[in-house]
């Protein structure tokens, strides 16, 4: 047991302090964030920015009421509009300046409310871009609304009634926001599942391959038998599998720390982002469980393949079936996102090698009952014990043999050797 610890220690010391590990640890999340959060992040940034607006009030009567009409805030607490209300004399005097600011995009638009607005005149909207119909419509509605309130008031209508009428208009706005909220929640679920799925998929392959290369390195550098003079093949394999797994966990911890730092920074500047990354502790717990299950299933097999091989080429060829065992569940998982309740998915989520990804997806999308989850975990633990036993047999014979790639009957014979 002490010797497994020694092997794990060496694995960590020699793997963590390498250029490859540091580069991978830094670039990995940048890549991940790029492909998963990037689009949502940029979309939210471009949508949610304060807008500078200059309103020229030629009626000279609307001015006091306009700031209230444009007083709503963005999700991050910033005001949606930075409003400047001026009269026509100021406008005429500083016209050149405003036009220059429009040109420089310091202000989005200059809107002129004509003096005949009471009789239904024409609003003038001046902007560098006039394609944003939604925004133009919004500005017109706001001004129109304020104009109508003033008209109603002047017609002698009770201010309470006016308030009621405008309140009704506000109800409409809330409805739209509710629709957006529902949409966001769907997106959030999907993003969480997708990010975790990619991490499960990538790390199974990466660390599995790292295990295989480690075993192969020990064979090609001819140190295997030296190590066997101090320990046995089973301890050697377990040390390797645990060691590489620990290196992986260290990488995870660094990633979590980096992620917390990034999110703290992002949340400070844009609280809306938090909605996308709120992960329940239960989901995170199962993520760790299924990472461990998936990693052990795969890496013991990769270790056996490393032991069978004498060269990189052998290892590549022999590891293809294992890679397929990882790729197929990953592909199937895209259908799960569409229909997590399908029978095929439910059945496959019990099958070793499929469980880590499919059962995890079911948990994130549509929590199955606990006995289903733990039933699948038990089946997978049994598979890990069986897989480790077979791998250890192959490992023990394979690590001492050099030369040609073994055939399937030969490998079966190795498993039968006592």
């Amino acid at each position: 047991m002490n010797k497994i610890v020694t092997i794990i220690k060496r694995e960590i010391m020699t793997k963590v302090f390498t250029r490859g590990f540091i580069v991978g640890t830094v670039l990995g999340p940048i890549f991940m964030i790029g492909i998963s959060f990037g689009p949502a992040f940029f979309l939210s940034l471009s949508e949610e920015k304060s807008v500078s607006l200059v309103i020229v009030d030629q009626t000279n009567q609307l001015s006091p009421h306009l700031p209230a009409a444009f007083s709503d805030t963005l999700a991050n607490g910033q005001p949606r509009f930075i409003l400047t209300v001026i009269d026509s004399i100021t406008y005429e005097r500083q016209r050149a300046l405003f036009l220059q600011q429009l040109e420089d995009k310091q202000i989005k638009a200059v809107v002129i409310i004509p003096s005949n607005a009471w009789e239904g005149g024409t609003l003038i909207y001046m902007g560098k871009s006039i394609s944003d119909m939604e925004f133009i419509q919004l500005v017109r509605d706001r001004i129109n609304q304020e104009l109508n309130r003033l008209k109603l008031f002047r017609a002698g209508i009770n201010p309470d009634v006016i308030e009621q009428l405008t309140t009704r208009l506000k109800i409409k706005t809330i409805k739209i926001e509710k629709g957006q909220a529902r949409e966001k929640q769907l997106g959030q679920e999907w993003v969480t599942a997708f990010v975790f799925l990619i991490i499960l998929y990538m790390t199974s392959l990466l660390y599995g391959n790292a295990t295989m290369r480690g075993v192969l390195e020990e064979k090609t550098s001819r140190i295997m038998e030296v190590l066997l003079s101090s320990t046995n093949a089973f301890q050697l394999m377990m040390g390797k599998v645990f060691g590489v797994g620990m290196v992986g966990l260290i990488q995870y911890l660094l990633w979590v720390a980096m992620a917390l730092g990034v999110f703290a920074f992002a949340a400070a500047s844009n609280p809306a982002l938090l909605k996308y990354i709120s992960i329940s502790p239960v989901v995170f717990f199962y993520f760790i469980v299924f990472f461990l299950v998936g990693y052990f299933q795969i890496s013991t097999l990769y270790a056996a393949v490393g032991a069978m091989s004498s060269s990189q080429e052998d290892a590549q060829a022999l590891s293809t079936p294992i890679t397929i065992l990882v790729v197929i569940p990953f592909i199937i998982s895209f259908t799960v996102v569409r229909d997590p309740a399908s029978t095929l998915v439910q059945v496959l989520s019990y099958v070793p090698f499929f469980t880590p990804m499919l059962m995890f997806l079911r948990i994130t999308l549509m929590m199955p009952p606990w006995y289903e989850i733990w039933g699948a975990i038990l089946i997978n633990l049994a598979a890990i014990v069986a897989g480790t036993w077979v791998s250890a047999k192959i490992y023990r014979t394979g690590i001492l043999l050099y030369g040609k790639r073994p055939t399937l009957p030969e490998i079966i014979r190795w498993i039968r050797y006592n």
Binding site: T6, M13, E225, V226, L227, L228, S229, T231
Partner: protein, 303 residues
Amino acid sequence: MAVLIVDQVSKFYDHFKAVDRVSFQIEAGRMFGLLGPNGAGKTTTMRMIMNIIIPDEGRIEIFGARFQEEHKNQIGYLPEERGLYPKMKVVDHLQFLGEMKGLSAAEARRRAHHWLERFELEKWAEKKVQELSKGMQQKIQFISTIMHDPQLIIMDEPFSGLDPINTKLLKDILLELKQAGKTIILSTHLMDQAEKLCEEICLINRGRVVLQGPLSDIKQRYSHNSVQLEYAGDASFIAALPFVERINDYGNYMEIRLKDQTAPQELFQAVAQAGLQVSRFEAMETSLNDIFIEIVGGGNGHE
């Protein structure tokens, strides 16, 4: 006390008998030679002693008990297939291998430095293994075999790839270890090395023991009556002497095989009487190499 007992041990691969009912026994403090041509089964036998592969038949006892995993801390094994992690620092590597033999990290590091000094490699301690020459790497492997002060040392072809200076260094340290009471098994196909170092041998051919016992007994049993002669003049009369079996004449050097029961003394007198000018007359002991070739020879022992 017998440190190691190998009793009727066999290992089969399909229908090929790699090791076939091999038995031997080694007393504490002995230097034991496990000899044989390439492919005879030496490495398989040593792997079975180390429990790296499991015998199909027979019994192996180490330190008076069946093999236990903890025994590995008491054994230093230098396999024929040996290597190091190329990217590790020398001293870190030795510390790792020391810890693998049950030493504490601090103790392993201390001993690593001690032995590096002894082998004049101290200034390489912080270098990566891959920067060392092949000979230096061999020395590092040798250090890793003995740094945990094992009671039983097993070395498979330890001299292969070593230059004469390092061969001498290794030989000196092996003798020192033997004097300190360690038991040493030396496997080699180089008979002159075995002849100089071992007190007992076991010769294996095609998986079977063909000869074993104390080296002196074996030499006596296989000694032939032969004489080496360096001379000047006409020595053709020697071939006609009644007690001479055959000769091998090189002109001024001659190898003479005498008939059994003939003392070399008789030939010496005959040569002296004939007035031959002799610069060297040597009664030969049969070398282990000759015995090896005689037993294994005929090309039937090789792969």
